[in-house]
Assembly symmetry: D2
Homo-oligomer: 137 residues x 4
Amino acid sequence: MSFTEEEILIEVPFFDLDPMNVVWHGNYVKYTEIARCKLLEKIGYSYPEMIKDGYVYPIAKMDMKFIKSATLSQKLLIKASLEEYEPSLRIKYIITDENGEVIFKASTMQICVDAITGKSIYEAPEGLKEGLKCLSI
Amino acid sequence: MSFTEEEILIEVPFFDLDPMNVVWHGNYVKYTEIARCKLLEKIGYSYPEMIKDGYVYPIAKMDMKFIKSATLSQKLLIKASLEEYEPSLRIKYIITDENGEVIFKASTMQICVDAITGKSIYEAPEGLKEGLKCLSI
Amino acid sequence: MSFTEEEILIEVPFFDLDPMNVVWHGNYVKYTEIARCKLLEKIGYSYPEMIKDGYVYPIAKMDMKFIKSATLSQKLLIKASLEEYEPSLRIKYIITDENGEVIFKASTMQICVDAITGKSIYEAPEGLKEGLKCLSI
Amino acid sequence: MSFTEEEILIEVPFFDLDPMNVVWHGNYVKYTEIARCKLLEKIGYSYPEMIKDGYVYPIAKMDMKFIKSATLSQKLLIKASLEEYEPSLRIKYIITDENGEVIFKASTMQICVDAITGKSIYEAPEGLKEGLKCLSI
């Protein structure tokens, strides 16, 4: 049960491949970021809104599980689900291939930080909470 | 207690920075890979030796903890320690800054795979075990 | 006047931005590659077909002009046009923003190389020429 | 004849390789940036000094020639030479391999821009000119 979720489709580009002809594992961090940004856009609390409110949301933890490899031009579905927003932002990711097979799983934990003082904030910004309220109506 | 370890020094390049003027979190995957490759070189069982023996060693799991940020031209020390080599290759990473402060921790788990059959192999290749034996003498 | 062309739309991701909050110049190489791959797909002579025929098509020259910067979430249109296919593959690129303003121009020159001998080939592979013939009918 | 030059050594990392097992062409942009940053550091007018003075120095043009490919663990020497600093910053790059063979050439042109007004400035900042004067003594 997640608060809200978002899906995006990407097509594996040539420059993401390694000498084994599969996506280099570090590139999955990019795929999760694209999906996370879309999820935050849906909530209405993206990077520009955070900055405007004086917050940054650095990644504090990230866990990844690589289940199957992917190769050139494969169409991958990346689903990001918001699991928690207080005291930290927890998002889960699942990537599936064209056959619906799960090829990758990950989770990230982000902590809200005051951009001026550098202090951690354990209550979610108003803008984030309001965005979530609007989605749940 | 690790079997063996290796350290490398990197200097944060401009292109690794994000709009917050700090290293984008996904770039730490590159830093761990540079240290892991040096560790495997020290053991004498790098990517070319694996390929020659018919093995690949894909990353199956990776966990990262981002403790402090790093910025342009900082000199970072990346230590990779081999924790286990059978049934899987487990390596731990610690990154420290110029003051010796830990800014990042990670661990990876790799499984040896037969390059032809695609089957997992839970015994380490002879080349890897011999390399480790030589180091321990 | 180009033989054929193709367009793709990309949305600038966070990880492509630099500390000036604009796309780091090196990332435009990726944007041109995505468009070039789509152009070659349209012709029916992509990377897998080349490899199957025993050819590789390395980039020998690339010129880039950076006219305006782009930032987070901007939608960019990348047009790739085939200008020449013998003795070398010459492709031109133009990137425009949402207002139709040109923000980037580039050109690449690729030489067909025999994957076994490593020798340059100045006549286009049959598969490429046939693909172009089909498009022109 | 260049005003000043600087050299750096890099070792090709695994993550810079493409499915042909050679450095993906776009990664050479990173190599040139590392050398350019070192050259500007030598002059004493790097990114932090520019920002402090209220200037940015975006890349306006970049030309690249890919002569030979490079692969895993090769040690490459990247030389950056300052050819001109007014009205624009022009730097040339040559990459040679362990045998001294030239594998890549490039040139960049950067224009000094006022960070507040966004206007181009065709006279080099005082800090840059003084740094060059110190080097020539």
